[in-house]
Symmetry: C2
Subunit: 520 residues, 2 copies
């Protein structure tokens, strides 16, 4: 899930859900789906291949390519039609880590936990350098470091993180929290909300970002050997980000390691106390420029109803991840669940009226690019609201990208007319903890790309478990974090939603078409 | 704190505390001590030098030597007398890590979090090897691996750890827990309790240990390149142990890395699924055999009362640590607090009646060796209960070794007569959360060495914070974990206890002399 969009869409107003309407659910089919999904699951095997076997799946990386190829092949093996990679547009450079070693060597030896920032270069072999603390908030303050950084290891005078938490890492939704969501009222959102570009906060952020660019350029030009920046996270958990652009035209930067807060602060304390600190590092990263295109995985169960087979239901999640682990909860979990939902429907030999399509997106982490590109190619342009014929034929898009937690319900994304339908569809899954329909929006992931062109796009409500505290974008987002029972439950519920969407007389009701967004 | 002794001493019976007795406390002195300890503290500076500047302080290591030398010098600087290193007896080889790098290279690159087990050798440069899963519970089962391990990376088929916790990492004692301790009844222990060597559990443990030795010898003889063993801990936290004997006569073993559970399980899952997994590693460790002696740091504030100055009060904690971090909570915290208590007493220009001595032990982690050796040299032999004259002159020994948490009270270690005295001494510190006197024993640290020869030896009750979950023997036991306010509080209270012990008309009342323990 892309972090910065997550909280941007929570806006509330005075719209309430319509009363509960009649919506039929076939209990025999639900039973079949439950039997296959809960007792004959392959979701953990799928997750194993997407994580452990494929490795990290940064956009454009060989790891993502391995996972994409495996997924296409696996979907074919399960009997899905039209399984393929589909280019969505130009992304940029691929990148992967090929060596990652760094240690304090003076005043004593200590290997540090540190991860190359995505799209940063390597050190060109083993380097050794003294640590220099750089403390600057403006270009003028950088002058004092001129001529002093060559071959050095640069560290910034950054405050320590909160040292320990007396709060739990992992949690599930309480009944009270779910009730609060169910009772919420909210103005339906029309497309993505833009931040106010004229606000003082926005100006401050722009200034900070501009200085960060100046700072990195200065350090690169001064030929520093390495930059250490403090990672979010404690206890050996390191959250990662990118340190340079993936664009093929990106400017050169210095090698940069996102360093565990404990190691970072130790080095900083020593250096600030006037102790000599020397580091050694051997970082090798590889850029891949052969193919700058981005790709999505797509596959189908074709519709069988003469009239309705032109209509489509889509499900998906992003397959790309960050690079320090194997993106198990973000978002092999969602990808494996969506693949498993398709497998369940094939396994029960379901012949849908409408066509069912799965898509596993890429470059979600850089800005929902895979789904946005796909939407642009197939459905319409949210900037102009020029729509294509396919837009009218897609009943709904269901997304899963909030970690390993089981489904507790669904966000209506303001589509109040869908509420009674989903409420009825959740009925058979009360015993599995899925009960809540909320009018609220949630952001930060690929259903927004559909919502932006007027297609009903939904993300399920999922228990957080330790998504925020430990796994989301971190070096700890590994297969171990997956909760098997939760993934089985999610796949079962998604399969049932897809079944119902396919067989329903009508398509899922839509909100009013979003207004054209003013240009940024 | 040494883990395996920790819970061995909790035995309860029907002895109750005597009624509260009169014990005077000088409020003016308490105020002076509080002012110095709470408002002019140097405890964090001391901790910084013991951790960040000295580095890991494994028994016999250069890091411990640096910390010991710094402590001796610092205690001299503060005006203490007789500050020196004192040999306590033969320990064994020193050891330190000089390079620690390991990564998965096939099926893709991923640097792992892994720490050499203490006293294991290095790899002799960069090695690469395929992973082989060894699954054996008996010597006979090892036959299948004969001739198959040369140059390989051995991993054991070990179950995954619990993956995540819905419990908090860090906690303080609740009022209820403290009340329960205060109201506890317990048979006073006389020396260390021995486990029943004839129990089935003991036999099973002996068998398991014997097989582990056979297994390690087999792997070494088969010339495996490296062993991976699964570390306790999750989220990047790795708890460390020793992997070989520190004895100068120890048998050779293979290099062995205690590997983070997430990395370990990823490698194991891949290998068990039949995927080729290759690792590379470059481990360098250094053995130091020039001086096999172990040393304690000691220093004094000499007594000034003609009659009483021959009598002594001791305070201490162990200065040695494990090797993957800087042993901040285990036990730079206790060492810094005890040093700070001495500094406070010098700063307020206290001229004690009795002599006050600080000792910072070594080799505690291997079996309380530093304090046991000191006790043997000065006070008596717990095996024969042959006592030396100094035994009769040591009023009490106070220890601190349960992490960074503030003092909540004191364990009487069965010395019920000391209860009313300590109760009175804690009165002025109620506002700082120190209230509880419990008849109970606590184990696993150096006060036991004194208790074993009939000297009143006490450990304070401390809040655990994240000692058990994160820091105790782990790679995360760094300066960052220290809670400044808690260390200030502890030093203030210890200084006050020392003051009172020194000025009290009588020595601290003693339990009956322990019976001679049967040989193990």
């Amino acid at each position: 899930m892309k972090l910065k969009l997550l909280f941007s869409c929570l806006i509330s107003a005075g719209i309430t859900l319509p009363l509960f309407a009649q919506e039929t659910v076939d209990p025999a089919i639900v039973q079949k789906i439950r039997e296959e999904g809960l007792n004959h699951s392959k979701v953990m095997e799928t997750a194993f291949y997407l994580t452990d076997v494929s490795g990290p799946r940064l956009a454009g990386s060989p790891g993502l390519k391995r996972a994409q190829n495996w997924a296409v092949n696996q979907l074919k093996t399960w009997g899905l039609a039209n399984a393929k990679l589909e280019a969505w547009g130009k992304f940029g450079k691929g990148w992967e880590v090929q060596k990652d070693y760094a240690a304090i060597t003076v005043p004593y030896y200590h290997a540090i936990i540190a991860i190359p920032k995505a799209w940063t270069p390597g050190t060109g072999g083993l380097i050794k350098g003294d640590v220099v603390v750089v403390k600057a908030d403006s270009a003028a303050e950088l002058d004092q470091y001129k001529g002093k950084l060559q071959g050095k290891v640069v560290i910034f005078d950054t405050k320590p993180l909160v040292e320990r938490s007396f709060k739990v890492d992992a949690a599930r939704y309480t009944d009270e929290e779910l009730a609060e969501m169910a009772n919420a009222t909210m103005q339906p959102a029309t497309g993505r909300r833009q931040p106010d570009a004229n606000s003082p906060q926005f100006a401050a952020m722009r200034k900070l970002r501009a200085f960060q660019t100046t700072l990195r350029a200065f350090i690169h030009d001064e030929k520093a050997a390495l930059i250490l920046s403090q990672a979010r996270g404690t206890d050996g958990t390191v959250f990662t980000t990118n340190g340079a652009s993936y664009a093929d035209t990106a400017k050169a930067v210095a090698p940069e390691l996102e360093t565990s807060s404990e190691d970072y602060q130790r080095i900083l304390r020593l250096a600030k106390a006037g102790q000599k600190v020397e580091l050694e590092a051997d970082i090798k990263t590889q850029f891949l420029t052969d193919d700058l295109q981005g790709y999505d995985v797509v596959a189908e169960i074709p519709g069988t109803d003469k009239k309705l087979k032109e209509q489509v239901i889509m499900i998906g999640g992003h397959l790309d991840s960050w690079h320090a682990a194997t993106g198990a909860t973000d978002n092999a979990a969602g990808s494996a669940v969506m693949m498993e939902a398709m497998r369940i429907l094939k396994a029960i030999n379901f012949k849908p009226k409408r066509t069912i399509r799965i898509a596993l997106w890429s470059s979600e982490e850089q800005g929902l690019f895979g789904s946005r590109g796909y939407v642009l190619n197939h459905f319409g342009d949210p900037k102009t609201m020029q729509l294509k014929p396919e837009q009218a034929k897609l009943s709904a898009y269901y997304n899963l990208d909030n970690g390993t937690g089981k489904i507790r319900g669904i966000y209506l994304q303001g589509d109040s007319a869908a509420g009674p339908i989903f409420k009825a569809w959740l009925e058979p899954f009360k015993d599995l903890g899925a009960t809540t329909v909320t009018i609220r929006n949630t952001g930060g992931t690929d259903h927004q790309s559909f919502d932006a062109v007027g297609i009903p796009g939904f993300q399920f409500i999922q228990d957080a478990i330790d998504y925020g505290s430990r796994t989301h974008h971190s070096n700890q987002d590994t297969y171990d974090r997956l909760v098997e029972d939760d993934l089985k439950q999610a796949a079962t519920i998604v399969a049932s939603f897809v079944y119902n969407t396919s067989e329903r007389a009508e398509m899922i009701p839509r909100k009013a078409l979003p207004k054209v967004q003013p240009a940024n």
